[in-house]
Amino acid sequence: MPIADGVLEILRGISFEIKQGDTAAIVGVSGSGKSTLLGLLAGLDVASGGDVIIDGQSLAALDEDERAALRAEKVGFVFQSFQLLPALTALENVMLPLELSGNNSALARATGYLERVGLDHRLNHYPSMLSGGEQQRVAIARAFAARPQILFADEPTGNLDKATGDTVIELLFDLNRSEGTTLVLVTHDERLAKRCNQQFVMESGDLEAAH
């Protein structure tokens, strides 16, 4: 990134591969560049150099709308701050990505996933009426409902207490197993990282494999 005194390198020399169905964790302290890397991996942002290839498709070769189409088809997200839309009910939040991709059975599928995360009694509740753990479960249901090939999770337990966090993690890995999704986690939670097949440590823009 160009700055007044020259060029600021946020990420450098990073190269790794995650196979279909694998789970990978990127750990590191705050400000180490984890979230920036996640943004690039998911195609939310573009790198000034290098490339990310998802399912054989180079992201650098795509423009913003093509990347959006790719996300709609292949990518799911779970965020630290849940990122549910406050004006939509739990059910509508889960339906949203399905509706955006024109899925005809959005309602049935969204209801099914909310049942799987144990929120079938909360379908018509708004996010503000749900606890943090419940909100994150809605977010997980939303992420899996679109049946992505790869799921990116940004500090999924960051805003939750330990017990709730544990429940959410169980749910995330359970669903991941049953759906065969590739999971990329960004976290500073060692316990969470250890549950993944691969672990990478991010430090001042450098990435090292820890496993």
């Binding site: 943004g39 998911a42 939310l44 959006a68 990122q83 509508e92």
Partner: protein, 829 residues
């Protein structure tokens, strides 16, 4: 159908947003814009068509040919060929004599069947009996008398009365004629008879002073065709009268009222546009995260633009449809105020108001609501991970500039008056331009003061300073809203003041002519004894202008030229009479010996005379010269005696003259007129009470309509203020919640919020009154033909209103920050 089965579409987005409560202000602003524009525009159109027919009522026809000679049968035949309805009237003063030899000079009007073609002829069987409108006209051999004439002649229904050689049976009383004001033939009480009886009376001789009127009514095309045919055939003594000739004083009042209403409508457009811009901006700010999430979930830019564009379009269609309906209801409500009084049906509205309403919605949506929503599509999806990422702001000033230009065009189209539009825009520019820079300076000054003040003030002023640009912008928007409301209040005040000054309660409603010099004192005494105040007496001499600068003017008859000899009432005065203004030359000294004359502007124009010209004048058989020393503009609406030609006392005094005066006679003392006429039989009385009462009620009704429009505009203004406050609520809520979480007391937060918003309000009030004075000055002097007076009393009120309104609204909107637990606030935002 359930939303999920069809995928995401704009209607679903709209429904969900509606449920989220964020569309309320946007929809309300749009509804208000459309309904105000449609309502006022439809009202003005409807009023215009209604007033044309109303004015025609005063004429008793659509067009009238007035003539000193009998009207050729060829003309009547031609009018009938064109498909027009035709009627004739003949008016002349004549002595009415009863069997018991009581006699009185009556104003006789003979009418043909079909009269009146427009409006109603009201009559009754006995002088004050039950009024009916279906009795037609007096049958041949019959006459209807004005109730007063019954008393003057000591006659009763069934008696006989002679007009010339013809005896007529009194078969009723004439109570009201539509054309009383425009068809005054002499000034006595009315005697209405059938035109068929005229030959038998033998009163019409060559050279008699009579007025023939050919009344015409029908389709506009036929009227125009006949007008075209007849105009070249009119001679000097004949005139074609139309709507504009029927009631000039009412039409000017209504012109100004229409100007005001259209101005109000234009201001409504600006206010609504501002409300929409604010609401849309807030809407888009609240949707930033929404869109970022949708994009992270795979929505493309086009998809987002289509979704929001589509939902805006649906919103626009809904608001336009509802707004048109509401606007129609609004004009119906306005009209109800008039209809009862004027006895007219609402006129045709036409499509134009709805077109303007639709265009307003389109412009407001396109230039004010769409740009911030369009920018939503540019929000990078990365925002889901990093909140500091936002869409670029570069386009904003361009959007607003385009918006301003389009609103200017809309106002222009709407008011049809560049001066009105220009005046408002000038005021707005002053408020926005000077205001914006002043706001920043003032806010910075406030910061310096705040550092030295207590913690509440420090916090408040620090907040003002920190968001300096945003606050300055917000202040300017508040100022615009307050300014536009003030402009309307000021102009309304000037308008109402002028109307009241024009016809204050107790204005003279009767004129007396032909008062001899000997009668002057006793007449004054007569009135004083009965508690009636009369105006000054004006001397009056009938005279004629014969030549200008030695150039003989053509004799009156048979000449087409405008420049011809003119007969007029001459008067003398040492001081300039009321309701007159010198526009050229100078008024004379009271003791001048020079023969001078002051002419009314239009009269002078018709003569082709200017200041310095020498006029040759003739009174009776004596000719004399006078120099034109001044030209005057006379206010003909003042209902005060006005003269075309005024001389210094010494010039005119030597000629024989009579006097004219006016007085106010309340309706309940009307019987006094009989006593007056008995005591002063040669005096002529003109009764204007009915006309004046009619004018006053119309003015009152227009006043009420204006109040109503003002209320609507104030509502629009308040909506802008609410939208403006709402626009900054989120960030203030967040900060207040953080401060509370850090331990700040409620009183500190509330105090700081109050000070912050009140300071904004005070500055906005100051800027507003500045711009309002400028716009009001321009409007009153340039566009509405009113006198401008600064309103210094309004300045403190404007500032106070800003403080109370914006301070109050601000604290009310942000009270959540201190009532709801901080965590809840932070979670919701």
């Amino acid at each position: 159908m359930r939303a999920g089965s069809r995928g995401m579409n704009p209607a679903i987005l709209l429904l969900r947003d509606w449920r989220g409560g964020e569309l309320g202000v946007l929809l309300a602003a749009l509804l208000l814009a459309v309904s105000v524009v449609v309502g006022i525009s439809a009202f003005v159109n409807s009023l215009q068509s209604a007033l044309i027919s109303e004015s025609l009522r005063f004429l008793a026809a659509d067009r009238v040919i007035r003539s000193g000679q009998s009207i050729s049968d060829e003309w009547t035949a031609r009018a009938e060929v064109e498909g027009l309805m035709v009627a004739q009237t003949l008016g002349f003063p004549s002595m009415a004599v009863t069997e018991s030899d009581n006699l009185y000079l009556a104003s006789v009007m003979a009418v043909s069947s079909g009269y009146p073609l427009r409006g109603e002829l009201l009559s009754s069987a006995t002088p004050y009996g039950e009024v009916r409108s279906d009795a037609g006209i007096p049958k041949p051999g019959e006459a209807w008398l004005a109730p007063r004439l019954f008393a003057l002649l000591e006659a009763k229904p069934g008696d006989r009365v002679w007009v010339g050689d013809q005896a007529l049976v009194i078969s009723g009383a004439v109570r009201s004629q539509p054309d009383t004001a425009s068809a005054a033939f002499g000034y006595g009480p009315r005697l209405l008879m059938n035109l068929a009886d005229i030959p038998a009376t033998g009163v019409i001789q060559p050279g008699s002073r009579v007025t023939w009127r050919l009344l015409l009514a029908g389709e506009a095309d036929a009227l125009d065709a006949f007008t075209q045919w007849v105009t070249p055939r009119l001679n000097q003594g004949q005139r074609l009268l139309g709507v504009e000739d029927s009631q000039p004083s009412i039409s000017q009042t209504l012109d100004r009222a229409q100007g005001f209403l259209l101005l109000a409508g234009s201001l409504g457009v600006v206010l609504a546009a501002a409300a929409i811009a604010l609401a849309a901006r807030r809407f888009s700010e609240r949707h930033t995260d929404h869109v970022a999430i949708m994009k992270s979930l795979g929505a493309s830019r086009q998809r987002i633009a289509r979704l929001y564009g589509g939902s805006l379009l649906i919103l626009g269609v809904v608001a336009t449809t509802l707004g048109c309906a509401l606007g129609w209801a609004l004009q119906a409500l306005f009209f109800q105020l008039f209809a009862e009084q004027l006895g007219v049906q609402p006129g045709a509205i036409g499509f134009e108001p709805y077109l303007i309403g639709g265009a307003t919605a389109l412009v407001c949506l396109g230039f004010f609501a769409w740009p911030p929503l369009e920018r939503l599509a540019q929000i990078p999806p990365l925002r889901v991970l990093r909140r500091d990422v936002d869409a670029s702001d570069a386009q904003r000033s361009m959007d607003y500039a385009l918006g301003a230009v389009s609103v200017f065009a809309l106002m222009w189209w709407y008011s049809g008056d560049l001066k009105v539009t220009g005046s408002v825009v000038a005021g707005l520019s002053l408020t926005v331009g000077a205001g914006y820079f002043a706001a920043q300076i003032l806010l910075r000054g406030g910061r310096a003061m705040g550092s030295a003040a207590g913690s509440v003030w420090r916090l408040a002023l620090a907040n003002l300073h920190r968001r300096g640009t945003a606050n300055a912008l917000q202040m300017v928007i508040f100022a615009i809203a307050i300014m536009l409301m003030l402009v309307l209040v000021m102009v309304r005040g000037a308008l109402v003041d002028q109307w009241q000054a024009q016809l204050p309660p107790g204005s003279p409603n009767h004129f007396m002519l032909n008062i001899t010099a000997e009668e002057r004192t006793s007449l004054t005494q007569f009135l004083v004894e009965r508690g009636i105040e009369s105006e000054p007496q004006f001397p009056m001499t009938r005279g004629r202008v014969m030549a200008v600068n030695g150039e003989e003017l053509a004799a009156a008859d048979g000449v087409q030229s405008e420049r011809r000899q003119r007969e007029a009432n001459f008067t003398y005065a040492d001081t300039l009479p009321e309701a007159n203004e010198i526009i050229a030359g100078e008024w004379w000294d009271a003791d001048t010996d020079e023969a001078q004359v002051s002419l009314e502007r239009e009269f002078a124009q018709r003569l082709g005379a200017n200041v310095g010209d020498a006029l040759e004048l003739r009174i009776a058989s004596e000719s004399f010269q006078a120099r034109v020393s001044s030209l005057r503009e006379s206010d003909w609406q003042s209902m005060k005696p006005n003269f075309f030609v005024i001389f210094p006392k010494k010039t005119l005094e030597r000629f024989p003259n009579t006097f004219l005066t006016s007085f106010y006679l309340p309706a309940e003392q009307k019987a006094l007129l009989n006593e007056l006429i008995t005591a002063f039989p040669t005096v002529t009385i003109i009764e204007l009470d009915i006309v004046i009462a009619e004018i006053r009620t119309i003015i009152d009704r227009v006043g009420q309509a204006i109040e109503l429009v003002l209320a609507v505009i104030l509502l629009a203004g308040s909506l802008v203020l609410i939208a403006g406050v709402q626009a900054s609520v989120d960030i203030r809520l967040r900060e207040s919640a953080l401060l509370r979480a850090l331990g700040a007391k409620k009183s500190l937060l509330l105090g700081a919020l109050l000070i912050e918003f009140s300071t904004l309000g005070a500055f906005a009030g100051l800027l507003a009154v500045l711009g309002a004075e400028m716009a009001a000055w321009a409007l009153q002097t340039q566009a509405l033909d009113l006198t401008y007076q600064a309103s210094p009393w309004l300045w403190p009120w404007s500032i106070l209103a800003g403080v109370i309104l914006i301070g109050g609204l601000g604290v009310l909107s942000c009270r959540k920050a201190v009532v709801v637990p901080p965590l809840v606030v932070l979670r919701e935002l």
